[in-house]
Symmetry: C2
Subunit: 434 residues, 2 copies
């Protein structure tokens, strides 16, 4: 079990849904496996497992795949595996300069991914909600997803999120305050004629951490921190495989820890926050001031400015190299704070930090080494994400699959009865006479 996002079962359905989730997880982890294997893993009776597996097959989540291997004694059983064909979960991210969508199937294989420049920072929350719903509509209309049932949409936003309510309390770099994103999206989705589906809203760093935990290069690392590299810097913290949310859901705000007294102004209105000295905007203002003569850079296309920074650093521009060195060092001081307080196994840098990593990571690592009390950084690895700018959106999709796995999402609708596909089956679906 990983996350604790929004929805959860209640009342008499709860036990059944918890058991459904347990069976689904057991199949995910051990597939191909028999019903008896699942009963052994979950501790449920064989009768319960058979009944649940029947449901899962009917809803298109699990399928049978031939007989057990020959090593088994006695009558060979039919094996089970997850059914990747009928389901999709969609993750979306809105950030200062882009929106992203990722659709995955039940085994979290990526079906589709789009990254579109969008000046969300300037557009305001209403326009962003419309853009997100439009991107969702276009995604669901994509032939790649044809015939798939949508589990729901998980939306990543850089800011303080009241996840249970789906409300954005404060997103400084988007300039949103108390915006009920889920409620507004649900209205717009109905207007657009989209099918009903659950919508989760969560912090981008939290969802990035979920994506890393479920499918990054350090997947299943239990004490893991994902750091977003955008205009803002956020931390998604997994402790013992569970998201650290804090008592009111506002944990992980590493971007606004006070690092430099009297330092530069931050998007949150304070001075010297980590993201004011090491966020992408702060970096670009020093490395490509000519591309963005007025601060903040956020209104422009960050991707192009980041690419220009990489080019100049590659060319050995001393000013650029010095600015990256300084930013990496501040980032390391922030990361050292995390390591001293939380002692994780890995910190993974994401977003725009990825292309800048060749220059940021060495001074960052040196600063962590210099400021962590525990020997050898308490065993913490400092690495770069392999998921790039799609991590948070991917995490939004993964969080929905996780919610299904843990019985916190209702099953998708039953699928119409489908005859087994056979070579030479007639177009009307009936098998030829034998």
């Amino acid at each position: 079990m990983l996350t604790d996002t929004a929805t959860g079962p209640a009342g008499s359905q709860a036990v059944r849904e918890t058991n459904l989730g347990a069976v689904l997880r057991a199949v995910r982890e051990a597939a191909p496996c028999s019903r008896a294997d699942v009963a052994a893993t979950t501790g449920l009776t064989k009768a319960t497992v058979s009944s649940i597996v029947g449901d899962l097959i009917a809803h298109g989540l699990v399928r049978e795949v031939g007989a057990a291997s020959e090593r088994r004694v006695g009558r060979p059983g039919v094996m089970l595996t997850l059914d990747g064909r009928g389901i999709t979960a969609v993750g979306l991210e809105v950030n200062v300069d882009y929106i992203t969508v990722v659709a995955v199937d039940l085994v979290e294989q990526e079906l589709l991914s789009r990254h579109e420049p969008f000046a969300a920072g300037a557009a305001g929350p209403e326009a962003c909600a419309r853009e997100l719903v439009d991107l969702l509509r276009r995604t669901l209309a994509d032939p790649v997803l044809a015939g798939r049932t949508v589990l729901g949409a998980g939306v990543a936003v850089p800011g303080l999120i009241d996840a249970p309510r789906g409300t954005v309390a404060n997103a400084p770099n988007l300039r949103w305050r108390d915006f009920p994103l889920r409620a507004r999206m649900l209205e717009l989705m109905e207007e657009a004629g989209l099918p009903e589906m659950p919508v989760l809203v969560d912090n981008d760093a939290n969802l990035g951490a979920v994506a890393e935990y479920r499918g990054g290069h350090r997947a299943h690392t239990c004490d893991l921190v994902y750091i977003t590299g955008e205009v803002g810097i956020g931390a998604g913290v997994l402790l013992d495989g569970r998201l650290l949310r804090g008592s009111t859901g506002y944990g992980g705000e590493i971007g606004h820890i006070p690092l430099r007294r009297g330092g530069p102004l931050c998007g949150c209105g304070r001075r010297g926050c980590l993201e004011a000295v090491a966020g992408i905007d702060a970096i670009l203002r020093r490395t490509v001031p000519d591309l963005a003569p007025t601060a903040p850079v956020s209104g422009t296309h960050l991707a192009a400015a980041v690419a220009a920074t990489v080019e100049r650093a590659d060319a050995g521009d001393v000013g650029v190299l010095r600015a990256l060195e300084r930013a990496g060092s501040w980032l390391g001081r922030g990361a050292a704070t995390l390591v001293n307080l939380i002692n994780p196994q890995a910190i993974i840098l994401g977003g725009y930090f990825v292309p800048l990593a060749p220059w940021l990571l060495p001074p960052c690592t040196a600063a962590v080494d210099a400021h962590v009390l525990a020997p050898e950084r308490g065993g913490c690895r400092l690495e770069v994400s392999t998921l790039g700018l799609s991590a948070a959106a991917r995490g939004g999709a993964a969080a929905l699959v996780d919610a299904l796995d843990t019985g916190r999402l209702p099953l998708p609708p039953r699928r119409p009865l489908e005859r087994p596909r056979q070579e030479g089956a007639r177009p009307n679906g009936r098998s030829p006479a034998r």
Copy 2:
């Protein structure tokens, strides 16, 4: 369930001990309560509960106290309560300038508490281990504890602790490195002829948090941070009622987060750590430089210097007030970092911060307000401990009681059969003929 300290049951005993713990916790929470109440709370069968209660009575942990209240229907049952008479748990703390002991009974009532000046910072680990064992010996010999079985000793040390091994990895302010404190204490205890007992070693801030959680003014606050106010500053972090230890046990090192670039030298050898600008030593060097002309102050009696600081602040000494204001503000920046990352319900300042709180707390709170992104500090209260300098030792004792409660400590030996005490019972213990 609260902590996860050192010992744990293994093998075939495990289930029985887990169930014993569950019954003990149920009685602790609901006493007076019947065996049937315990069965209902724990989900165990009445037969199992009866058998376990029999054991707990025989070992002097639970006792019967008359009949159920009249509100109950049917035959009145005998009620159970914890037996505070036969057991004690001992907590010890060694810190830079003192050692402390607290003994509690099974209901965590304080039986005895001693606080002794001791220049531990100068004495070295071997002398400290001897002093701790001698204090333990004197404590167990105290008439107040006569006839009680000792559950064990829990020892608090300011530093990075490998709790499962009972080793102090690094205690900068004591100048200890890789000292096997538990092993050494067990040897010395055997030499001194003390009874065999488990010894737990843990970080002072962790044990302070345990003490606050189990018996402070914010007891049972699930997301709680305790900050030690000694030469060093440490944080004990409880999330969801569980200690945040981190992946290698080195979490909570708030004292060494880098706050001030190029700031004053810290005991750990780095510069600008929180405790180098807001630890008690740093404060005293500015408020009472005449009492300790050479830095660090730690060799002298901190208590007297703290008292002198309080006196001068009370008298309105401008330099002293300014130094306390500055230290409080740095402390607030450190606390803001915790609030941004962890979003706790309460931060409780302990140790020598308690007498200095009238001057430290206002600038500290102002700095937290200034540097936390979440509205209203994410609901976090900033308060002063009511447990004073005995918090960590108290937590050492409480951690043992908690280990018993959660089936991670073996039961103490069975008590000799005791006849019910009656008015007029004859000295040989036999009841008079009826």
